[in-house]
C-alpha cells in the first residue's frame, strides 16, 4: 500500500509532475545525444587511424618508439616464435620495417617514411589495395614501390617512373636504391599521405641491409574492447627487456589528449545541464514537501514510522526522476539510432567544418555511437541526483513534530 500511496501521490499534482518529467526528459535527451555524437565522432577518428595504419596494438623492440631508428629493430623469426598462437584475441599480424629516407627524382627531393610490408598480411590488416588510385598493389617479391599521392605529386612521379631512395642502413651501412613506381595510393590522413612509401619487406630489408629484421609488428584485434586483454596477455608472454607492446592509446597520444580535452568540455556542458535539472527537481521536492507537512503530521500521529514515510516520499521522487529519464531515453533512442546508421553530414555546415575534419583525414560525417551504456548512465545520474536531493525531505521527516506540522 505504501507503493500505491507513492504512485497515487505522483498523479495528485499532474501538472507539476508532467513539468518535472519533461524537464528531466529534455536533459536526458540532450545529454544522450551529445554523448553519442561525441563518442561516435572520436571512435570514428580513432578507428580511422587504427584501420588505416596503426592497428590496435604494436610490438616493437624495446625502446624503438622513443628512438625510431633501424638499429632498434628486431629479428623477424624470433618475434613470430614468441607470439603465442593460442592467444585468440589476436586475429592476425603484419610485420613492418619502418624507417626514414630521402626520396628524389633528379632535382626534386623529399623526406619520406619507408615502410616495408608483407603485402598479404598488410592487406589483411589495413586493406591498402582499396586506397590505390593508380597502378597495382605489391606482391611479396616485388622490387617496386607504392607511393602515397602526396609524395608522388611532390616528386612529380607517375606509374613506371623511377624513384631514388637514399638513407642510412642497419649499423651505419650506406643505403641507396632505385625502384619503379608500381602504384599510387591516397590516404585520408594528411600526415601519412605526405610521406608514406611502401616497399615489399624483402626489398626494404635489402635496401637497409637489414636481412630478417623488422621494426614493428602491427596486430589485428577484433575491436577496441578486446585490446586490453590482448595486450595484457602479450605482455605476459614477451620479455619486457626485449620487446615493448603498445596499444593504440600509446601509439596515438596526441589524439587521446585531444579526445580527453574535448570530453572534458562535454562533461562541463553536461554538468551545467544536470545542475539545472537538479534545481528543477529540487524545486518540485520543496513544494511537495511543504504542502504535505500537514499530511505528514497526520500520518506520523496515527502511527506511520518516519522511515516508512520517507520511503513513500523518496519512492515518489525517484519514480518521477526515472520516468523522466525513461521518456528522454525513449525519445533519444530512435534519433541516435538514425544518426548511427546515417551519419550526420557536416559538409552542409560549410567549408570550415569540412576542413576541420580533413585535418584528421576524415570525411565530414559524424556517426553517433549507439551504445546502451550512454543511455543507462543518464538514468543512473538522474537516480543519484534524486537520491541526493532526497536528503531534504528526509531531514524534514526526521525532525518532524506532528503537532507543529498539523498547525501549518
Amino acid at each position: 500500500m505504501l507503493l500505491t500511496l507513492a504512485l497515487r501521490n505522483i498523479w495528485r499534482n499532474k501538472r507539476r509532475t508532467l513539468i518535472t518529467i519533461t524537464a528531466v526528459a529534455f536533459a536526458v535527451f540532450l545529454a544522450s545525444i551529445m554523448r553519442s555524437f561525441n563518442k561516435g565522432a572520436w571512435d570514428n577518428v580513432i578507428n580511422t587511424s587504427v584501420n588505416l595504419f596503426f592497428g590496435y596494438a604494436q610490438i616493437h623492440a624495446n625502446g624503438f618508439w622513443d628512438d625510431q631508428t633501424i638499429d632498434n629493430s628486431m629479428d623477424y623469426q624470433e618475434v613470430v616464435r614468441s607470439l603465442d598462437p593460442s592467444n585468440d584475441h589476436i586475429l592476425g599480424y603484419a610485420p613492418r620495417l619502418e624507417s626514414f629516407a630521402l626520396a628524389s627524382t633528379g632535382d626534386l627531393t623529399q623526406g619520406v617514411m619507408i615502410v616495408g610490408i608483407e603485402p598479404d598480411q598488410e592487406e589483411a590488416l589495413t586493406g591498402v589495395s582499396d586506397k590505390i588510385i593508380e597502378g597495382n598493389y605489391l606482391d611479396a617479391s616485388d622490387d617496386g614501390a607504392l607511393l602515397a599521392k602526396g609524395v608522388a605529386d611532390k616528386l612529380k612521379l607517375g606509374l613506371g617512373d623511377t624513384l631514388i631512395l637514399i638513407s642510412q642502413g642497419y649499423h651505419g651501412a650506406n643505403a641507396a636504391g632505385k625502384y619503379p613506381v608500381r602504384g599510387i595510393f591516397k590516404y585520408a590522413l594528411p600526415d601519412l599521405n605526405k610521406v608514406l612509401i611502401y616497399l615489399s619487406l624483402k626489398t626494404s630489408q635489402h635496401f637497409y641491409a637489414a636481412d630478417n629484421r623488422i621494426t614493428s609488428v602491427a596486430l589485428k584485434i577484433a575491436g577496441q574492447r578486446q585490446v586490453d586483454k590482448a595486450v595484457n596477455s602479450l605482455k605476459e608472454n614477451l620479455d619486457p627487456e626485449v620487446y615493448e607492446v603498445m596499444d593504440y592509446k600509446e601509439l596515438m597520444p596526441e589524439l587521446m589528449q585531444a579526445r580527453q580535452l574535448d570530453e572534458g568540455g562535454d562533461y562541463i556542458v553536461m554538468g551545467i545541464l544536470y545542475a539545472l535539472i537538479a534545481f528543477a527537481i529540487f524545486g518540485t521536492i520543496i513544494m511537495m514537501t511543504q504542502e504535505r507537512m500537514y499530511e505528514f503530521g497526520i500520518l506520523t500521529a496515527i502511527g506511520l514510522g518516519r522511515w516508512q514515510l520517507f520511503a513513500v516520499t523518496i519512492l515518489e521522487i525517484i519514480t518521477v526522476g526515472l520516468l523522466g529519464a525513461l521518456v528522454g531515453i525513449i525519445i533519444a533512442i530512435p534519433v541516435v539510432y538514425n544518426w548511427s546508421v546515417n551519419p550526420l553530414d557536416l559538409s552542409m555546415m560549410g567549408e570550415e567544418a569540412t576542413a576541420a575534419f580533413e585535418k584528421f583525414g576524415m570525411e565530414p560525417l559524424i556517426p553517433a555511437a549507439f551504445e546502451a551504456p550512454i543511455f543507462i548512465n543518464q538514468a543512473i545520474l538522474i537516480f543519484i541526483i534524486t537520491c541526493i536531493l532526497g536528503i531534504f525531505p528526509l531531514s524534514k521527516i526526521l525532525t518532524l513534530n506532528p503537532v507543529k506540522a498539523m498547525r501549518s
Binding site: M1, T4, L5, R8, N9, R12, Y294, E295, I298, L299, T300, A301, I302, G303, L304, G305, R306, Q308, P402, V403, M406
Partner: protein, 227 residues
C-alpha cells in the same frame, strides 16, 4: 480500570523566551468505557492536554500512563508504534489521506499493523457500515462532505482497536445536523463496543452528550462532573 492516568502535568511553551504556562498541574484518571468531554475557554489548555495524553507532545513536568505504560520511557519510533496500537486519533479536519479512498484510509492503519488482507477488508467494511457510509466506501475524501470525512476518521481511529480515541474538537467544522449524527455514532460505538472516547469541544450540544465533563481553566482542572 484506568486507561489514562496523568500525574501533575505541567506544560510550559517557550521556556527560554516568553514562557506560556499552558498546563499547571493536571491530575486526571480516565477509565475504560468513558465518554468524556474536556471543555474550557479558548487558550485554557485543552489541545495541549490531549496532545500530551496522545504522546504527540511531551509535558514539561509530570507523568502520563497509557494502558499501564509510562510513555516518557518510549523512544521516538517506539512512541509512533505505541500510538499506532493504543491510541485512535480524530483531528478537527483534513484527517484523511487525500489520495486514498475511504476504505483504503481505514485499511491503512491495519496495514501498518500488518493485519492480513482478509481481516483488513472485513473490518474496514464493518466499520464503514457502522458509521453509515456503506455506499461511499470507494470515494476519495474530496468527494465526501465534512461530516462524512469525520465519520471515516472515526472508522479509521477504531480500525486499529486502540485503547481509547482522542478527538480534539471533532465537530468544530461541522453543521449542526452533521454534529448530531457524528455524536450519535460515537455514543453508539461507546455503548455497543465499549470504546473509550475523550474529546474536547466548545459546543454546548456536544457537551450535553458527554457523561463526564472536565472543565479546564488556565491550565488547571476547575471542575470535573460525572452525570
Amino acid at each position: 480500570m484506568a486507561v489514562i492516568i496523568t500525574e501533575q502535568i505541567e506544560k510550559i511553551y517557550n521556556p527560554d523566551k516568553v514562557p506560556v504556562h499552558a498546563l499547571r498541574g493536571v491530575d486526571l484518571e480516565i477509565d475504560e468505557g468513558e465518554f468524556t468531554a474536556i471543555v474550557g475557554p479558548s487558550g485554557s489548555g485543552k489541545t495541549t492536554l490531549l496532545n500530551i495524553i496522545g504522546g504527540l507532545d511531551t509535558p514539561t513536568k509530570g507523568k502520563v500512563y497509557i494502558a499501564g505504560t509510562d510513555i516518557s520511557t518510549l523512544s521516538g519510533n517506539g512512541m509512533i508504534n505505541f500510538r499506532k496500537d493504543h491510541i485512535g486519533f480524530i483531528f478537527q479536519s483534513y484527517n484523511l489521506i487525500p489520495v486514498l479512498t475511504a476504505r483504503e484510509n481505514v485499511e491503512f492503519i491495519m496495514m501498518l499493523q500488518k493485519k492480513s488482507k482478509k481481516e483488513r477488508d472485513q473490518r474496514a467494511n464493518e466499520l464503514l457500515d457502522a458509521v453509515g457510509l456503506h455506499d461511499k466506501k470507494n470515494k476519495r475524501p474530496m468527494e465526501l462532505s465534512g461530516g462524512q470525512q469525520q465519520r471515516v476518521a472515526v472508522a479509521r481511529a477504531l480500525a486499529s482497536k486502540p485503547s481509547f480515541i482522542l478527538a480534539d474538537e471533532p465537530t468544530a467544522n461541522l453543521d449542526s445536523q452533521s454534529t448530531a449524527d457524528l455524536l450519535d455514532m460515537m455514543a453508539e460505538l461507546n455503548r455497543e463496543e465499549g470504546m473509550t472516547f475523550v474529546f474536547s469541544t466548545h459546543d454546548q450540544r456536544v457537551i450535553d452528550r458527554a457523561r463526564r465533563v472536565i472543565t479546564l481553566i488556565d491550565g488547571k482542572i476547575a471542575k470535573d462532573e460525572v452525570r
